[in-house]
């Protein structure tokens, strides 16, 4: 795998942003006087992906799989442990000072919690105007802020109001207006609608898609809500325990997933109509701790496909338990990190049901020992 030049995005054009072999580990320390490191949380492991200009890349996964860490790495709010981030062809992995300020104007982030992400002691005008002030943007700042408020569906007359006077949805609009202030090209949306009421989610999603069209924005759209991701994304990446497990265009991912984890995730989405008779792939066991991930494929202790290959619900193929599968293209534009991608006819439902919880626990213990 080349680490020098970023690989082209799916459609062959130069990617706007490309991350290569990104790793983020948080040290776990113990001791009062002398802190010594006793381990590390493997938040993001060997993650590579790229986003084309104007594209929306969805990023899904369970809580704690490293989605938010990825968002913060891409927005350079966290320093990666290793790997690289290229933005507009430039290596920004360890950029600092003035050069970084330039990148900050181009990459913005919308946060999950619209209550925590707005300073309660600042007026809306101050919050949205802060990026303009910090970057010494010329011109009538008040006028620009009110313009942004209008674009995001806020009443410009509320310029002097404080965040607590707004509802959750309006607060998220304030967060979006702040992210737009400097005309960025990439906006990292870290679960932008997860904290909102369902009726408000649709409004915010449609605001984001409208803004994308008007300002030719590129989104990294992170969510654990597969329905929302399907609605907004061009391509979708799935993460499990800090690793990319599958990445392809939206329709292929939802209709023809090749990674057993993706298949299980998608089968768990509740459907509005006629779902009562549909059977789901019910995975046994819990997500292992990222502080002590299993050896080999991170998914192997819970993987039903591995049991289909071995033919025994209590046994996994040796390769799954010892070697980490790299994300590889199995068809053009479709990356899967699995030794035995799904084939038509694989009955994951039956295989998952045949697995007893104890065998999963045993496999986990064996893998992390």
């Amino acid at each position: 795998m080349s680490t020098e030049s970023p690989a082209p995005a799916a459609n062959g054009v130069e990617p706007l942003v490309a991350v290569r072999n990104l790793v983020k580990r948080f040290p776990i320390t113990r001791g009062i006087l002398f802190q010594r490191q006793i381990g590390a949380v493997h938040a993001v492991e060997d993650l590579s992906l790229s986003i084309a200009p104007g594209e929306t890349l969805g990023l899904v996964g369970e809580s704690g799989c490293g989605k938010s860490t990825t968002a913060r790495l891409m927005a350079r709010l966290l320093e990666p442990t290793s790997g690289s981030i290229h933005f507009e062809g430039e290596d920004i992995t360890h950029l600092a000072g003035r050069a970084m300020q330039h990148v900050r104007r181009r990459v913005q982030i919308v946060f999950q919690d619209p209550y925590a992400s707005l300073n309660p002691r600042q007026s809306v005008g101050q919050i949205i105007g802060a990026p303009l002030r910090i970057h010494h943007v010329e011109g009538d700042r008040r006028k620009r802020v009110q313009e942004l408020m209008e674009q995001t569906g806020l009443n410009p007359e509320h310029y002097n109001r404080y965040p607590h006077e707004f509802s959750g949805g309006q607060r998220q609009r304030i967060g979006i207006a702040r992210a737009l202030a400097l005309n960025p090209s990439l906006i990292v949306c870290d679960e932008p609608v997860s904290a909102l009421d369902v009726s408000i989610q649709a409004q915010i999603v449609s605001l984001l898609t409208d803004l994308q069209r008007e300002h030719s924005l590129t989104y990294l759209f992170i969510s654990h809500d597969l329905g929302v991701v399907r609605h907004v994304s061009d391509r979708v990446a799935v993460m499990y325990l800090g690793r990319l497990v599958e990445l392809t265009d939206r329709d292929t991912l939802y209709e023809n997933p090749r990674h057993p984890y993706t298949a299980a995730l998608i089968s768990a989405v509740p459907h509005g109509t006629g779902s009562s008779g549909r059977r789901r792939i019910v995975l046994q066991g819990d997500v292992p701790s990222p502080a002590n991930p299993p050896a080999g494929c991170p998914f192997h202790p819970r993987c039903p496909k591995a049991r289909i290959i071995s033919g025994d619900p209590a046994v996994v193929p040796e390769r799954c338990a010892t070697e980490v599968p790299q994300a590889a293209e199995i068809t053009p534009g479709h990356q899967v990190a699995c030794w035995y991608p799904l084939e038509p006819g694989d009955d994951l439902i039956a295989a998952a049901e045949a697995m007893a919880p104890e065998t999963v626990e045993q496999a986990e213990e064996a893998a992390t020992a």
Binding site: R72, A75, L77, M100, Q101, R104, R105, Q108, I109, F111, Q112, D113, A116, S117, L118, N119, P120, R121, Q122, A130, P131, I134, H135, H164, G175, R178, A181, L182
Partner: protein, 291 residues
């Protein structure tokens, strides 16, 4: 506003307001009564040198030297308020700055500042204050090559020196939780530097904590000045001070009760008023309550 409905706090505010007027009007009271603060009235002491109690001209009586207690209390209010407010102001300034830096930067800087605060807090405060004031106040030139003069300034410096750690610790604790909030991250993501984040994002969220704590520190510092003056280490003898008045009264308390009673009541009420005001402000400024 909730503060208006807090009757104790409102009464305290009124009392503090009257006290401020009293302090400002001290020369006026002296002029009207015709008794200067250091003027000795022979006819207010008897043949044995004992002072006479309250009468129509001397409402609060006279002290052992024949000075008007009421006028001296009015002048004493100036010292108490100046020391209480200025020393607290200096302590808050130092405490907020160091607490903000310690909480925000963490690491070695935090350890350094926090341990310094711990050491200052564990010093036997009164003993040390007495030591410093004695050393610096023993001669006219003061100490440190004349930079620290005896008198009001010295008292203020000593008190501020011993009260900033309280403020620093409270501010540090608040900053520790504030800096992890998402709005700080949001600010960093738009390119804000450390100073902008500390002073524009975090500091405004500390205002209510600081106001409440300062209003609780004022009475503590007023008492501190009274202790020092009681021990004869506060302001110079010619400046009336409540602590020194109480100290002087302790010799002849059994024959001249008014000498102890009036300054004592004023000190008690002033400290009580500031404490109640602080409690009222804390309730009124609690951010959880106004939602």
């Amino acid at each position: 506003m909730r503060f208006r409905r807090d009757r104790w706090a409102m009464a305290s505010l009124v009392f503090i307001g009257l006290l401020v007027i009293l302090a400002f009007a001290a020369p006026l009271i002296a002029t009207i009564s015709g008794h200067g603060p250091n003027e000795l009235f022979r006819d207010m002491t008897d043949d044995f040198g004992l002072p006479k109690g309250p009468n129509g001209s001397f409402w609060f009586g006279a002290d052992g030297s024949g000075r008007d207690v009421l006028v001296r209390i009015a002048y004493g209010a100036r010292v108490s308020l100046i020391v209480g407010v200025v020393a607290t102001g200096v302590a808050v300034l130092i405490g907020v700055t160091l607490g903000l830096i310690a909480g925000y930067r963490g690491g070695v800087i935090d350890t350094l500042i926090s341990r310094t605060a711990d050491i200052v807090l564990s010093l036997p405060l009164l003993l040390f204050a007495i030591g410093i004031v004695t050393a610096c106040g023993s001669s006219r030139e003061g100490c440190f090559g004349g930079t620290v003069q005896p008198g009001l300034t010295l008292v203020i410096i000593v008190i501020a020196l011993f009260s900033w750690p309280y403020v620093a610790k409270i501010v540090r604790g608040a900053v520790l939780s504030l800096r992890e909030r998402e709005f700080v991250e949001a600010s960093r993501s738009v390119g804000a530097g450390d100073l902008t984040i500390m002073f524009r994002e975090i500091l405004p969220n500390l205002v209510s904590v600081i106001i409440v704590y300062a209003s609780l520190l004022v009475p503590q510092n007023i008492l501190f000045e009274a202790y020092l003056s009681f021990l004869g280490l506060g302001v110079p003898d010619s400046t009336p001070s409540w602590g020194r008045m109480i100290s002087d009264a302790s010799d002849i308390f059994d024959v001249a009760w008014w000498l102890m009673l009036f300054p004592g009541i004023f000190l008690l009420l002033t400290v009580l008023a500031f404490n109640l005001l602080g409690d009222g402000l804390r309730d009124a400024l609690d951010p959880k309550a106004d939602r």
